[in-house]
Amino acid sequence: MTYFVRRAGFFLATLWAAVTLNFLIPRLQPGDPAQAILSRLTGKSQAVDPAQLEAVRKMLGAPDGNLLAQYGDYLGALAHGQFGISYTYYPYTVTDVIGDAIPWTLVLVGVTQILSFFIGTVLGAWAAYRRNTRADSWITLGSTFVGTLPFFWLALLLIFVFAITLRWFPDGGGYGGGSQPGWNWLFFSDAFQHSVLPGLSLLITGPIGWILGMRNNMVQTLGEDYARLARAKGLSRRRIALTYGARIAILPNVTGFAIALGSILGGTVLVETIFNYPGMGRLLLEAVSNKDFPLMQTLFLFTTVGVLIANFLADVAYGFLDPRVRRTEAA
C-alpha cells in the first residue's frame, strides 16, 4: 500500500507546485504585473488609463495586498473555478473557450497516441523476435532515420503535397463545408477529413520511441535466465517471445506512455498551429500572440494538471502490473 500512498503524495505535491508555478510566472517580471500587461496592450508610448489599470488588477485576481494575500485570493478563485474572462473571445469566460477546444485535442491526441503505442509496440516486438535479420535492421534503422526528421516540417510537407498540390484533404481547420458541430453524420465525416493530415503528421514520428524502446527491452528480457529455461523446456519460439519476452518488456513502455504525454502535448501545439486545428495547442499560441494572459495562464494550468493526472494513473497502473515496484518502494 505504501507505493500507492507515495504516488498519491507525489501527485498532490506536483499539483500544488504546478498551481504555484502558474501563480509565480506572471509575477516573475520586475514591476507591477498589471502595469506591465497594460503597457503591452496599449503600446509603450501611450499613457495608461487608471480605470483600465484597475480593471486589469481585478482580472489578475489580486487588487491589493502583499504576495501572500494575492496567493490566497488566487487559490480561492481556482477553488471556485474562476479563471477570468478571455480578452480575445470577450465576453466569454476562459473556461468556456477552453471547454470548446478540449474535445478536439483529446480526440486527436488520444487516437494518434493509442495507435502509435500499438504500432510501435508490435513493430518493436517483431524486430526483437526476428533480431539480427533483415526485418530487424529495416525497422530499427528506418525508425532511427524517420526519427531525425523534424515532425512539424513533415506536417508542412503533408499540407504542401496532399492539401495544396493534390487537393485530397483540406489544408486546415477542424471542420467546414457547411457542417456545424453536433451529433450528425455530416459533421463527423467532415471533422474526420480535416483530422487526417494532422493525425498523420503525429503518427509518422509517434511510434518511433515505442519501437526502439520495446525492441531493446524485449531483446533484454529474451536474454534473461527464465527465457533460457523456457527454451530448454522446448517451448515454441512464438510462445517464448509473447509470454516470456513481450509481456515483461512492455512494462517500461506503460510508464513511458505517461511521461511522453507532456512532450506529445507540446507537439500538438505545433501541429494544431500548422493545421489551424481548433484545439488547445492552437488556442495557446493564439493567446500568446494576442497577449490574452488569462487564457494563456489557464491553458498552461490545464495542460500541466492533465499531464500530472495521466502520470498518476500510469503510476497506479504500473503498481498493479508490476508487483516488484510496490515492494522496492515499500522497503
Binding site: 504546478a18 523534424p150 495544396i164 536474454g223 502535448l265 505545433l270
Partner: protein
C-alpha cells in the same frame, strides 16, 4: 555494416549506471601515447559515430566560415520575390527577395550556437543538481528529487511558450534561457542514479577516511568517473536545444531578425512558399535540420557505447 545494436543484444545489457572503469581501460589501451581522453577514443572507434563527427565538423565549418561560403548576406533583399531555384540563387529567393541558400548557411550558426550554449548550461545545472542529490541523500535528495520529477512531468513546450510570452525582450538569449530552465531534469535524474552507485565504491570510502571533504570528493573522486555520462547528457541536451529552438522560432516566438532554420520555416509558411510553388524555401531548412539531427543521432550510437560497454565496436 554491423549495427551496434546487433553486436550488443546477444548478451543482456546491464541497466542503469554506465561502466566507467571500462572507459579508463580503453583510454589506457588506446590513448596513452597520444593523450586523447578515453571517451573520445571510444567515440572515434565506432564507425557510425565517426561519420557523425565528420558531419558535425562540416556543420561547424559552414557556421564558422558562413560569410565566405554564403554568396550574399542573409538579409540582403534586392533580388526577385519568391523565385524558384536558379544558377544565381541555388535554392531560390524568399517572398522578401532574400537568397535562401545564404540564409541556410547563416542559420547553421544559430542552431549550433543555441545547441552548444543551451547544451552546456543545462548540463551544468543537471550535473550540479544530480550530484548534490545523489551524494548527500536524505532530505536534500528528497527535495531535489521532487524538483527533478516535477521538471520531468511538466509539459515542456507549453512552459517554454508561457515563459517566452512574458519576457519583455525577444531574442536568442531568451530562447537559450528558456531551453535551459526547462531542459535539465532528465540529465539530472540519470546522474543522480549514477552517483548513488559510485558513492559506495572503495576509493570513495578511502578518500573519506583520508579526511577529504565532501566538495573535494565530488570534484576529484566522483566527477572524473562521470565524464562519459556528462558527455552523454551534453549530446542529449544539445540535440534537444536545437530542436526546441527550431520549434519556438517556427511558432514565431524567436527574434524575427535572427536568421535560423526555424525562423525560415516560419517565414516560408507565412510567406506563401506553398502557394507560390517556391518549394525549395520550405524543403531546404527541414533537410538541413534533419541532417544536423542525423549527425547527432550517429554520434549518439558511439555515446551509447560509452555508457554501455556491450555496445562497443573494437
Amino acid at each position: 555494416m554491423t549495427t551496434p545494436s546487433s553486436t550488443s543484444m546477444t548478451a543482456p545489457a546491464p541497466t542503469g549506471a554506465g561502466d566507467t572503469e571500462g572507459v579508463r581501460v580503453a583510454a589506457i589501451a588506446a590513448g596513452r601515447s597520444n593523450r586523447l581522453p578515453g571517451w573520445f577514443v571510444i567515440l572515434w572507434r565506432n564507425g557510425k559515430c565517426r561519420f557523425g563527427l565528420w558531419m558535425l565538423l562540416a556543420f561547424v565549418l559552414v557556421a564558422v566560415f558562413a560569410p565566405v561560403i554564403a554568396p550574399y548576406g542573409p538579409r540582403v533583399d534586392d533580388f526577385g520575390l519568391s523565385e524558384g531555384p536558379t544558377g544565381a540563387h541555388w535554392l531560390g529567393t524568399t517572398a522578401r527577395g532574400e537568397d535562401v541558400f545564404s540564409q541556410i548557411v547563416y542559420g547553421a550558426r544559430t542552431s549550433l550556437l543555441v545547441g552548444t550554449v543551451a547544451g552546456v548550461l543545462s548540463t551544468i545545472v543537471a550535473t550540479a543538481v544530480g550530484l548534490t542529490a545523489g551524494y548527500l541523500q536524505g532530505t536534500v535528495d528528497e527535495v531535489l528529487s521532487f524538483f527533478i520529477n516535477l521538471g520531468l512531468v511538466v509539459p515542456v513546450l507549453p512552459l517554454m511558450i508561457t515563459l517566452a510570452a512574458y519576457s519583455p525582450v525577444k531574442g536568442l538569449g531568451l530562447i537559450i534561457a528558456v531551453i535551459t530552465v526547462t531542459g535539465w531534469a532528465f540529465g539530472a535524474r540519470i546522474k543522480r542514479a549514477q552517483i548513488i552507485t559510485l558513492r559506495t565504491r572503495d576509493y570513495v570510502t578511502a578518500a573519506k577516511f583520508a579526511g577529504d571533504g565532501t566538495a573535494r570528493i565530488i570534484a576529484y573522486e566522483i566527477a572524473p568517473n562521470m565524464m562519459s555520462l556528462i558527455v552523454v547528457g551534453f549530446m542529449g541536451s544539445a540535440l534537444g536545444a536545437i530542436g526546441a529552438e527550431a520549434g519556438l522560432a517556427f511558432l514565431g516566438l524567436g527574434d524575427p531578425a535572427t536568421t535560423s532554420w526555424g525562423t525560415m520555416l516560419n517565414q516560408a509558411s507565412m510567406g506563401g512558399a506553398m502557394t507560390t510553388g517556391q518549394w525549395a524555401w520550405l524543403v531546404a531548412p527541414g533537410i538541413v535540420l534533419a541532417l544536423l539531427i542525423t549527425a547527432f543521432t550517429l554520434i549518439n550510437f558511439g555515446v551509447d557505447a560509452l555508457s554501455n560497454p556491450h555496445l562497443r565496436e573494437d
